[in-house]
Amino acid sequence: MAVSAHEAVSPGPVRDHTPPARRSGGRGRSVLEVALLTVLAVVMLFPVLWMIETSIKENRDVYAIPAKFFDFKVTLDHFRDVFVASGGGPSTLSVSFLNSVVVAGVSTVLATVLGVPAAWAYSRFGVKAKKDQLFFILSTRFMPPVVVVIPIFLMYRQAGLINTQLGLILIYAAFNVPFTIWMMKGFVDEVPPEYEDAAMLDGYTRLQAFRRYTLPLLLPGIAATAVFALIFSWNEFVFAIFLTSSDNVRTAPPAIAGLIGGTTVDWGLVAAASVVFALPVLVFAYLVRKHLVAGVTLGAVRR
């Protein structure tokens, strides 16, 4: 059985008795552990907090030395600048956010639509050289993006896909399909094939059985897989910067990178843009938090 992340994340009822450590280890140790955990949490979260703080500071305070932690004037101007251009109308950043939504959204849907049925087929049927196929599928993700970008570029040049959203969607989908297949195969393996067999005895075809009985059980897994695909396409930088150049195609990561290297860095704007950009992913991740473990382990967590 795969370890459901549910156990990992929620303080569920399994653990409502005092763990053995408490009984023997004593109080001092427990306090020490809490203290250590707190320190680690502060260290890990400080940059995020600092980013949020910078996003609501005036630029004059952003550079202040010593750094101002509390006594600064709060402003929401940077958040306005993220969406509204200085002359009115939508800013290039907001256009790039929309592009990110389109590119990441469509490529995630595409990867899911292609990957889930394939995962089901790999799980259910005896496919020739299954292991090799699966390793091959995974190994396509080993390639450094900087290397792939050269032949992809040459290929797109022939196909006229350079500087198009379709080009980015296709490459992101191709990067996400292996992952989707591996992760979803783990989830499909969990669903007993007997459900489908029983349905077929009732006269359903295999496809109908899959759709009516297996698919609904897979939905949480699909959601978790899709979030990982989304995180990848949402955050991807290398392909985005080498395959696109115009404002109306470019996604947010290169657009945010473009905020520096001009003449002055508006760190408040960079921070605000980063916060806005990170929010959707964080929200989605929070919604499927119970299935994230299975995601990062490509379904490898099983006993």
């Binding site: 005036e58 630029n59 004059r60 550079y63 002359g87 290039t92 570029f153 797109y156 040049r157 006229g160 350079i162 500087n163 910067i241 080498f242 150049s245 115009s246 404002d247 290169p254 990178a257 473009g258 905020l259 520096i260 290297g261 001009g262 003449t263 002055t264 860095v265």
Partner: protein, 460 residues
């Protein structure tokens, strides 16, 4: 294959022998018509590509306001990419033989690469019939358009032109009048000792701030500037020699001045500073003397970004802008960019692009461009009150025009500048000894030039 190698050898030799007109590779750039073809009456978007900085936004606003008066059906779009990605973004599209821009704004040194690969139009004939070349300092026309490269300060009237000036630029010295006095230092040595004294007298303020980063052309321009001031040369264009030229006695002295005299006067950890960081240091009152591109200095007068004052006037009470000090020569770095016509954009757009360039180089438009915050190139515009009153650093530009020197604009530019950037940056940050860094630059750059005509192999 052997034949090809032989052909390349010949081409190299030809180039070596003075880079004459019939440089084999050069024939590949397609020609633009001498007169502007009939323009379309349909709506048309004329696209530029530049990196993300204020002049790009200024250009878009200016062109849409002014050019539309003449051509109501034309819309101007200036696409911007991150500075670090500027060269790659343009040249990958050139490589695709399909560009989403009609007018690439190339750095002056990119011309060689674009011309050799046939990416931009040869506009020699167009310039002859449409542009009043006498209205310009010849070197400005040459620097932003000519290939093969002109001698510093001159223009070869027989050479072909591939672009026209869009935005002039050079370094300005920014100094704190309240810390070092109203009169800017005149020689480089003097500048260093003033900075030294200022740093000593004002704890927390560093003597100097300049570009040291290893990206773009940051550290390279810095070294080249000092190299020029101390009488050095980057290369011998005729014999295509770098080794023995850049690292000659003058070059060594320049490197020594930069690393051992100037660097100790900069802020700790400033070894990755480029335009933004130098501006930030000035705005935060942390530098006595700073060097930056004029086109990037506008933000310094913005009270919102500055701790030097709450109004533009207050800031100007403290900040002075001057031409660079001179030493053995008075050379200053040539910055800025020219506009070119993509060989891959549709005919109607190319015609519109030519029309735009002709319009842009008109005397009245150049003055308006100056008033809108741009840096024009026509001499009359440079001396006009519209320009000189538009910014406190504009006089600096006008005074610097006759003193400019550019880097190599050969096709191998991107690699040459990377070698110089990384090595100068290494020397500035103690990762290499100054002399070793300079010798490595010479050796590696020479290697690139010598294997320059090899196609895909090499390049490590």
């Amino acid at each position: 294959m052997r034949l090809a190698t032989a052909a390349m050898l010949v081409a190299t030799t030809v180039a070596a022998c003075g880079g004459g007109q019939d440089d084999g590779a050069k024939a590949s750039a397609p020609k633009a018509p001498a007169t502007i073809p009939e323009l379309t009456k349909d709506p048309l978007t004329l696209s530029f590509i530049w990196f993300d900085w204020p002049p790009a936004h200024a250009l878009e606003a200016f062109a849409n306001a002014e050019y539309k008066k003449e051509r109501p059906n034309a819309t101007i779009k200036v696409n911007t990419v991150p500075n670090a990605n500027w060269h790659d973004a343009m040249f990958t599209q050139f490589a695709a033989h399909k560009t989403d821009f009609d007018i690439p704004i190339l750095d002056s040194q990119h011309i060689g690469e674009a011309v050799t690969n046939g990416n931009i139009l040869d506009i020699t004939d167009f310039v002859k019939t449409n542009i009043d070349v006498k209205a310009y300092n010849p070197y400005l026309l040459a620097a932003y358009g000519q290939f093969p490269q002109a001698e510093t300060g001159k223009r070869d009237e027989n050479a072909s032109l591939y672009g026209l000036p869009l935005l002039g630029d050079t370094w300005t010295m920014i100094y704190r009048k309240d810390l070092i006095g109203d009169k800017p230092p005149q020689t480089w040595d003097q500048m260093i000792s003033v900075a030294e004294k200022c740093q000593k007298d004002h704890p927390g303020v560093s003597g100097l701030a300049f570009h040291q980063a290893n990206g773009s052309d940051a550290a390279a321009v810095t070294y080249n500037t000092v190299n020029g001031v101390y009488g050095g040369n980057l290369w011998n264009a005729k014999t295509r020699k770098i080794d023995g030229v850049i690292n000659d006695a003058a070059g060594q002295e320049a490197m020594d001045v930069l690393v051992n005299k100037m660097k100790p006067l900069t802020a700790k950890g400033s070894g990755n500073w480029f335009i933004d960081e130098v501006n930030a240091a000035v705005a935060q009152g942390k530098a006595c003397i700073a060097f930056n591109w004029i086109a990037a200095s506008g933000g310094l007068l913005d009270p919102k970004q500055s701790t030097l004052g709450t109004t533009r006037e207050q800031i100007l009470d403290k900040l002075g802008f001057a031409t660079l000090p001179s030493q053995k020569t008075n050379l200053v770095p040539l910055g800025g960019m020219g506009m070119h016509v993509s060989a891959y954009s549709p005919k109607a757009n190319q015609a519109e692009a030519l029309n735009f360039m002709k319009w842009f180089e008109r005397a009245d438009i150049q003055k308006k461009w100056a008033a809108a915050g741009g840096v024009p190139s026509r001499t009359d515009a440079l001396e006009s009150p519209e320009f000189l009153n538009a910014g406190p650093f504009n006089q600096v530009y006008t005074d610097s025009v006759a003193r400019m020197r550019d880097m190599w604009n050969v096709p191998e530019y991107a690699r040459l500048v990377d070698i110089e950037n990384t090595n100068v940056n290494a020397a500035l940050n103690g990762a290499k000894k100054p002399k070793d860094a300079l010798d490595d630059i010479a050796k590696e750059q020479q290697g690139v030039l010598d294997s320059g005509s090899r196609k895909g192999g090499g390049g490590l």
